[in-house]
């Protein structure tokens, strides 16, 4: 089922497999697939699952400080959704033979990566708006692409997640729109959130295509259908005119409109910062892992209770 390159039939099977993908067919559990395809998917899906779970932390911190009941309901529902998204994704990875236990272990020991955006702090309420609109908006661009992915379980999880993220993005955008039109203090708060989250959001799309090691293979196997730079450009083109219409500034002095291509061209991303955060030296890396570990430890009695119940009622 998982093709090894040492198998004499590998080239033939690989050709059939790639032809299926080219025809737009989905690869399902049970079908033949290259071992590399399986490994790449487990890496991507589990990182994605970890990002959903760690992503609950920066927003979870503000639930008790929501300014009114509606905002609190919405934020609670959103954070609950992110936990659910983590579940969908861990389960998609399990169809490839990974276990939830080993994936969680990799997260807690710091071996596994998750989206670098969650290693930035949330310091004001309107950061909830910026995360919803910018961060979830960027995630939706990536996930809309992944919904076309050649692997059935990942694609279906992504379709479900995209449908739910639509709510996340819109509740955030609604907040920023409201604050941008509110009191001078509210507008300044929204601008400050955009200032802090703009660049880390652009970094979410990953390194430039020229520096992205996995891109070619991922595109050939239909796991990704667009490159990091393409997605980043789509995001910038969508967001810049909207932010300008709201009278908000994009914190990029080099940003300009290119008449010829119709693109908004960004200045250069600070890649040193990006790699520092990826390597674990971002402002919140240690705090996020510690919070995750504490949540895991505090949940121990629940796991024990479930296990005891399971033994009594086999």
């Amino acid at each position: 089922m998982y093709g090894q390159e040492t198998d004499p039939d590998y080239p033939t099977k690989l050709a059939e497999f790639e032809a299926r993908i080219a025809r737009g067919e989905k690869i399902e559990p049970g079908d033949w697939m290259p071992e590399r395809y399986r490994k790449q998917l487990i890496r991507m899906i589990s990182q994605h699952a970890h990002s959903e779970v760690v992503g609950m932390l920066p927003e979870g911190a503000w639930i008790t400080r929501a300014p009114n009941l509606r905002r609190k309901q919405v934020l609670l529902a959103k954070v609950q959704d992110e936990g659910g998204h983590g579940q969908y994704l861990y389960h998609a990875a399990e169809t490839l033979g990974a276990t939830r236990e080993e994936m969680l272990q990799a997260l807690l020991t710091g071996q596994a990566k998750y989206s670098s955006i969650f290693n930035y702090p949330t310091v004001t309420w309107s950061d909830m708006g910026a995360i919803g609109w910018l961060v979830d908006g960027a995630a939706i661009m990536n996930q809309t692409m992944l919904a076309q992915c050649s692997y059935g379980p990942y694609s279906r999880a992504m379709v479900r997640i995209c449908a739910e993220e639509g709510f996340h993005k819109k509740q955030g955008q609604e907040m920023i729109i409201q604050y941008a039109q509110g009191t001078p203090e509210q507008k300044a708060m929204a601008q400050d959130s955009i200032n802090r989250f703009w660049w880390p959001t652009l970094m979410m799309f990953g390194p430039h295509d020229s520096a992205s090691a996995n891109s070619d293979e991922l595109i050939r196997w239909g796991i990704k259908t667009k490159t990091n730079d393409q997605l980043r450009q789509e995001f910038v083109n969508e967001l810049v005119p909207l932010l300008h219409a709201l009278g908000l500034q994009v914190p990029d002095p080099d940003l300009h409109y290119d008449e010829e291509t119709g693109n908004w061209i960004s200045g250069e991303i600070n890649w040193d910062e990006f790699w520092q955060v990826v390597k674990g030296n971002g402002p919140m890396n240690a705090a996020r892992l510690q919070a995750r570990q504490e949540a895991h430890d505090n949940g121990r009695w629940v796991r024990e209770a479930l296990a005891a119940y399971g033994e009594r009622h086999p």
């Binding site: 529902a77 609604e174 796991r303």
Partner: protein
């Protein structure tokens, strides 16, 4: 402690009369907990009327590729053995969607392989990408009485739906307003 509990496939019915469709899996120590977890995971939004769960290892799955590869799976079918009811599910389309297989009906069979054979003749379709068969005894279903306590709470959580936010309209209005001022 090992918490790698059995996986249950979850089947969701959006409205009465519609088929149950597989929406994903949950881990649970028993079927009752699987139903509860399935509800928390797949019924956070208004559309759910009924859920079924079945242990993943009780389901026999064959992709079109596996069926085309060989007939070995049919080798040991014993037509004399006593039969039981199996539920049949199909993956019917390659179109992008959030559900996998759809419940199409039942067959009487003496083994999973027999059920699969029966399913293929009983529920022919132009193209089936994946077949699932599962003994009816392995399926646990939410009861009609559960509909209210399990699924009603999500019904009025309309704030979870993107169409409750008028951001596109508001942005258009703001842009138009700006044009007038400028």
């Amino acid at each position: 402690m090992d918490t790698q509990w059995p996986r249950y496939e979850v089947f969701k019915q959006d409205r009465p009369g519609e088929p149950h469709e597989s929406v994903g899996t949950v881990h649970a120590v028993d079927a009752e907990m699987a139903l509860q977890n399935g509800r928390d995971l797949f019924a956070r939004r208004p559309k759910c009327h009924s859920l079924w769960v079945a242990r993943a290892d009780a389901i026999t799955s064959k992709t079109a590729e596996q069926l085309a590869a060989d007939d070995a799976w049919q080798a040991d079918i014993d037509l004399e053995a006593p039969t039981e009811t199996y539920l049949v599910f199909q993956k019917q389309t390659e179109r992008r969607g959030m559900t996998f297989t759809t419940h199409v009906g039942e067959v009487e069979a003496s083994s999973p392989a027999h059920a699969l054979q029966q399913a293929i003749t009983t529920f022919p379709a132009e193209q089936v990408f994946v077949w699932w068969v599962c003994p009816a005894t392995a399926v646990t279903r939410s009861e009609e009485a559960d509909t209210l306590p399990m699924f009603a709470p999500a019904k009025d959580k309309l704030f979870r739906l993107p169409n409750q936010y008028r951001t596109v309209f508001t942005m258009q209005k703001i842009k138009r307003g700006k044009d007038v001022i400028e």
